[in-house]
Symmetry: C2
Subunit: 80 residues, 2 copies
């Protein structure tokens, strides 16, 4: 059983409207040192498997369901 | 200027409905080795400041706006 942590972020060239809203909200609360906010997704998955087979399967899950490869990047870490 | 990465997750005792939906979707696609999925948020922020002052400010932002301390846990990393 492996614990996989997946980080999904909007591609850097795209405007992150949600991040902009958070940044403005923080600024209105007095945190004006915040220059940029980008909001992404974070998933923790428990799954069977290990090694390269597991990594390949997780990459496939990201491409097919978890992330939108057109507008998002992803990376993941496999732990025990 | 520091790059801060914030990870926000639902508290472990709470049912993660969104995670359950993702898990079911993965199972229906044939990935039945997935035993649990929990969905959280991931934020990247560029902000001024450094050291303990910065860490304190980020914790305050999480408590006040970014996370809901009643149902969510957060952790963050400060990079350069």
């Amino acid at each position: 059983m492996a614990l996989v942590k997946v980080y999904i972020t909007l591609k850097p060239t795209l405007l992150d409207a949600q991040g902009r809203v958070v940044q403005n909200a923080l600024a209105s609360m007095g945190y004006d040192g915040v220059k940029q906010v980008r909001v992404g997704k974070y998933l923790e998955m428990q799954l069977d498997g290990e090694g390269d087979t597991l990594r390949k399967q997780v990459a496939e899950m990201c491409d097919r369901l978890l992330a939108n490869p057109v507008i998002e990047n992803y990376r993941f870490e496999v732990g025990e």
